[in-house]
Amino acid sequence: MNFVKKLIATLALLPALALANEGGFVLDKAPERPSLSSLQNGAKLFVNYCLNCHAASSMRYNRLKDLGITDEQIKANLLFAGDKVGDLMTTAMRPADAKAWFGAVPPDLSVIARAKASTAGTGGDYLYTYLRTFYKDDTRPTGWNNMVVPNVAMPHVMWQLQGVRTVKMVEEKDPHDHSKTTHKFAGFQQETPGTLTQTEFDTNIADLVGYLEWMAEPAQQTRKRLGVWVMLLMCVFVLFTWLLSKSYWKEVK
């Protein structure tokens, strides 16, 4: 019977299935850069490079005060074209235009760091890898392609910082079918240098990702700080209720 056959095949395959790779580009771990200066740098990069096309419509500019930036600094450095500090981070680009220009409407980035988490890594890991794996590809309308999201609609916005890179592909025998060959990624090739070194670029992306993670849940630090006190209080509460219960139950024989 079909079911029994499938069962036997499954049991035989179990070890192999457990080890099977889920596929997709392996994500790099996003470095933790929690200092305020890093987050401020991330905010600056975000406003300058991302906010032209993407919106963060749940985020107010003046929430950046949580990162130690003053209203005056926001007005002077981060606001363009008459926005008020209490405004939400919206974009002037209309969705219909975006669709025509890029083929897709750029997603809102308010909670993108939470949305992109998966079993492969945190949302931060995803964004950190995604933003660092753009490469030049003349077959694409924008001239750019990406390792994490193949055939992505978004161009490499920070190419001047990173420089132009291409990918090296090696031909390899298909391990399952030796008559075929597969293309395997074998690293990037720097074609023209950027204004930043590779390390500087990675650090800046880490700052930007740190900012995106902060923006996805601005209350996160407050939550964890408060959590410690709540836990301590609860421990005391548990101790007292335990003693109270014990004192009553002493008399139950």
Partner: protein, 470 residues
């Protein structure tokens, strides 16, 4: 109807006594308190498993209170819903805390309810005379599933949207009326603003009212028949000279302080999740649900929230080629009932006719596997209600049952958890076969219970409860 009689108090009686007396003459306040809690004698040998009832009540209150505050800021509108949740998370003072309490509370509710039901299974709490108590509890479980399902659409994320789409489409598998029925539920051809609005109405008022009513019925029934206990014996069989059970203690103050301790431990764990892991690795708040609902983009993997996945796995396990296994199982079960049950001849004839109709219905040319998947999905939930009549064990508690009954329970529990885990994962060939085996184990546990529960060597049941003074 007796004439109204005002209770007379001496002039120097405390004001509080006079006030309570004044109320008692007009409303049975003291009587209610004493019947339901104050002088309600509960067995003194309750263990860890007996905390989940009060915890469920506590979470119910927590969900209602946090829900009220969320409703003040949430917008049940397809264009505004997603943004309004983020507004609560960012702009509303302490909104993030209230939202996390509500989202974590939903999962906590199910954890506590599943443990509460496990307790019933361990100690035979559903056995006579507590059948109706069990049925009320089962109805609360159903209402809670509806409540969670309706509530899960409200954040209007991708998982909200597509989860609702998938579940509502299940009704479409019902022959004849199915497609119209799912259209009627949605109020549109796809899940849309109309669906969101009605789900909001069900979530914030209709179902909570039902739950509150059922909880009241559940508690009244419990305090009428009295609590079971880990030994599965009736404490009312041993009354003391004062007319109260010798193995019982009044709930107040003993279980008041005991439950307060339980609630405090729960709050400790609950706070740890809220403050340090509110997403719980994508199980309590799914990552995909941080993407706004998009009716044009179907996610690659759609799964309901973890508390539905055991039943959802049963649905997914019912594939076209599994139908032949099921046909064999139905035939075998009918044959088994003919040979091994003491049902009347007429009943056996009826069972055989139903069996033949079901087997014919399972033929691929008659009704498709999707229909039977929905039937099994529904049955896997409803079968829990039948426990009082399926369990034929001469003793209630697992303590005095044959040791191998414990292993049966463990296998059942593992099958349930495996189904739950597989339901959260994308479908795979291996997972499919494992979930099919677990589906058979799950139903086998219930359908064969009238026989296995009466088999083996039972231990003598004590006359008095097992209790070690603290």
């Amino acid at each position: 109807m007796a004439a109204f009689k005002e209770t007379k108090f001496p002039a120097n009686a405390p004001a509080s006594q006079k006030a309570v007396g004044w109320i008692d003459d007009r409303f049975p306040l003291s009587k209610l308190w004493n019947d339901q809690w104050g002088k309600y004698y509960a067995p003194k040998n309750f263990n860890f498993w007996y905390i989940f009832g009060i915890l469920a009540t506590f979470i119910l209150v927590l969900q209602i209170v946090t829900g009220i505050f969320l409703t003040m800021h949430y917008k049940p509108d397809a264009n505004l819903a997603f943004g309004s949740v983020e507004y609560i998370m960012r702009e509303v003072p302490w909104g993030w805390l209230v939202r996390y309490m509500h989202s974590t509370g939903a999962s906590a509710f199910f954890i506590v309810i599943y443990l509460h039901m496990t307790r019933g299974l361990l100690y035979g709490s559903y056995r006579k005379p507590r059948e109706l108590l069990w049925l009320f509890g089962f109805a609360i479980f159903l209402a809670l599933m509806a409540e969670a399902f309706f509530g899960y659409l409200l954040p209007w994320g991708q998982m909200s949207y597509w989860g609702a789409q998938v579940i509502v489409n299940l009704f479409g598998a019902i022959p004849l009326i199915g497609p119209d029925l799912s259209l009627w539920i949605r109020g549109d051809y796809v899940v849309s603003d109309a669906t969101l609005n009605r789900f909001f109405a069900f979530h914030v008022i209709a179902i909570p009212l039902v739950i509150l009513g059922l909880v009241a019925a559940h508690l009244i029934a419990l305090h009428e028949v009295g609590s079971n206990n880990p030994d599965g014996i009736e404490i009312k069989d041993n009354l003391g000279p004062d007319g109260h059970p010798v193995d019982g203690v009044p709930s107040h103050p003993y279980y008041t302080v005991h439950d307060l301790f339980g609630v405090s431990v729960f709050l400790l764990v609950f706070s740890a999740v809220i403050f340090f892991a509110p997403e719980m690795g994508g199980y309590f708040l799914e990552y995909n649900n941080f993407i706004p609902a998009d009716s044009l983009k179907t996610p690659t993997h759609i799964a309901p929230t973890w508390y539905f996945t055991p039943f959802y796995s049963v649905l997914r396990a019912t594939t076209a080629d599994f139908m032949y296994v099921l046909m064999g199982v139905v035939a075998a079960y009918v044959a088994f009932l003919w040979l091994k049950s003491r049902l009347s001849f007429l009943t056996k004839i009826i069972v055989a006719i139903i069996g033949i109709v079901v087997i014919i219905g399972m033929l691929p040319s008659v009704l498709d596997a999707k229909f039977w998947g929905v039937v099994l999905f529904g049955s896997s939930v409803v079968i829990i209600a039948l426990l009082p009549w399926l369990d034929h064990s001469p003793v209630r508690s697992i303590r005095y049952r044959p040791t191998w009954h414990k292993y049966v329970l463990v296998v059942f529990g593992l099958a349930f958890i495996t189904l739950g885990y597989l339901g959260t994962q994308p479908p795979s060939p291996a997972g499919g076969v494992i979930s099919q085996i677990c589906t058979l184990l799950y139903f086998g546990f219930f359908l064969l219970m009238p026989w296995w529960s009466a088999m083996g060597h039972f231990k003598p049941v004590p006359k008095r409860v097992t209790f070690h003074p603290h």
